[in-house]
Symmetry: C2
Subunit: 236 residues, 2 copies
DNA sequence: GCGGCTTCTGGGGTTTTCCCCAGACAATTG
DNA sequence: CAATTGTCTGGGGAAAACCCCAGAAGCCGC
């Protein structure tokens, strides 16, 4: 039984280590990585049966790391760890996991039992998804609530605080096109228009922000990365 | 040496327990609470010398718990644990800690050494503040960047997606007053006005949101609580 | 090949947000 | 006491955001 786990924080590595030591029979020494790149390197060398990957790690995200590992070793069991129940990540993960691969997605506020459960499931070829994410997954498959990439793009832009005009220039669109994207975005998020809100009238732009954050469609870290990307483009 | 720690997550209690067991000499059995209320009850009974409190806990937040404990037992050493480097919390904490009290503030991504360090500091009557928060504390004391409560209130409202008109009604102000608050808020966050942004024109409302989140002035959990409060008021 | 969907386009409108200006009042501070 | 700061007040104006409408191009599945 070869197990690798990757996390950049002392606390979480310690957590996993003691958890696995007491719950996995016939465990060998565990292999620990401190970031995504190290995890990939180690995985390719030791060919573990099971890999735990934190999503947020320096150098290489857990998602990317999983992609690289599964590319070479598609039968590896992968369990993602995350602080967030974010739709963004579930989305991304869905794309890279082989259709018949075994993987798990557990939130970091999971109980010890849940982690052990996920561990067993993945080792026996099943998937284990944290209860808190079940509804998220439903949403990614629902037409009426699942955002298209155009809408998502617009969402990111307004979340960064751009005006319609600025967005149009950045994405090479007309302002009308931007407004069109926003309109359908608001609709999918279920934000009432002017006059439909009764006593609670909303500023749709800001409301979209709030709801998107709440649903985990976006989060601060993701936005910061976008900001870096788009900001650089703007500087040129 | 009597030590109490309170956290609602398996992982973090496990972390603290093993950390303290290996690093604190002559430790007795540690006392563990699972939420804020339990922490207060236990503290009043066992009168610990040191208390670890997670900020985000069910029933009673760590901040409130600290307040109640310090009220009765002002000499207790308190170490707050947080996932965030949020200004909101530092602010609140500042108010309730007795001027000569010893307390610590450590982020949950701290290394094991840092926690031990904080522990020692507080036990010997010093304060220990996580490096990542030093600048936050500076900001809370800087005139030009520290928000007044009026500005903060406005910030929360726009982050929830309210319009000027809705805010005015909720807070019993004129719309002009709301705009006045927003204007100074934008200024303190350093958001350029119309025409001042050059190529990057901003929607100040949304930009304020983004920056406030980035600085930890607000976060999703806090907003959700406000939403519940203000939403209830609106329903009536 | 036909509907269905998304996306972009355009005209022409209302409301909201933000801008500049200036004044008044209370509380704090030197 | 004066000076400063935070807050609310007001008028009037420009720009942005949002509203309705309708049409056309492209892509997909049936």
């Amino acid at each position: 039984m070869t197990i690798l786990f990757a996390d950049d924080e002392d606390r979480d590595r310690g957590w996993l280590r003691s958890l696995l030591e007491t719950n996995v029979k016939e465990h060998g020494p565990f292999h620990e990585a401190h970031d995504g790149q190290e995890a990939v390197d180690m995985a390719l060398k030791i060919k573990p049966e099971l890999v735990f990957l934190d999503i947020k790690m320096p150098r290489l995200s857990g998602i990317k790391a999983a992609e690289l590992i599964l590319e070479k070793l598609p039968t590896t069991g992968v369990i993602m760890l995350s602080n967030f129940s974010d739709e963004v990540y579930v989305r991304q993960l869905w794309k890279i996991v082989p259709p018949d691969g075994a993987f798990g997605y557990v939130l970091k506020n999971a109980s010890n039992e849940q982690v052990v459960e996920a561990c067993k499931a993945v080792l026996s070829g099943d998937c284990w998804i944290h209860p808190g994410i079940a509804r998220v997954i439903q949403r990614t498959q629902n037409r009426a609530t699942n955002l298209t990439s155009a809408e998502y793009e617009a969402l990111v832009c307004i979340s960064l605080g751009m005006t319609d005009h600025t967005i149009a220039k950045r994405l090479f669109l007309t302002e009308k096109a931007v407004q069109s994207r926003l309109k359908s975005l608001y609709a999918k998020l279920g934000i009432p228009g002017r006059g439909e809100g009764g006593e609670n009238e909303f500023n749709q732009r800001c409301r979209a922000n709030y709801l998107a954050n709440k649903r985990g469609l976006i989060n601060q870290q993701e936005l910061d990365e976008w900001e870096a990307k788009l900001g650089a483009k703007a500087g040129a």
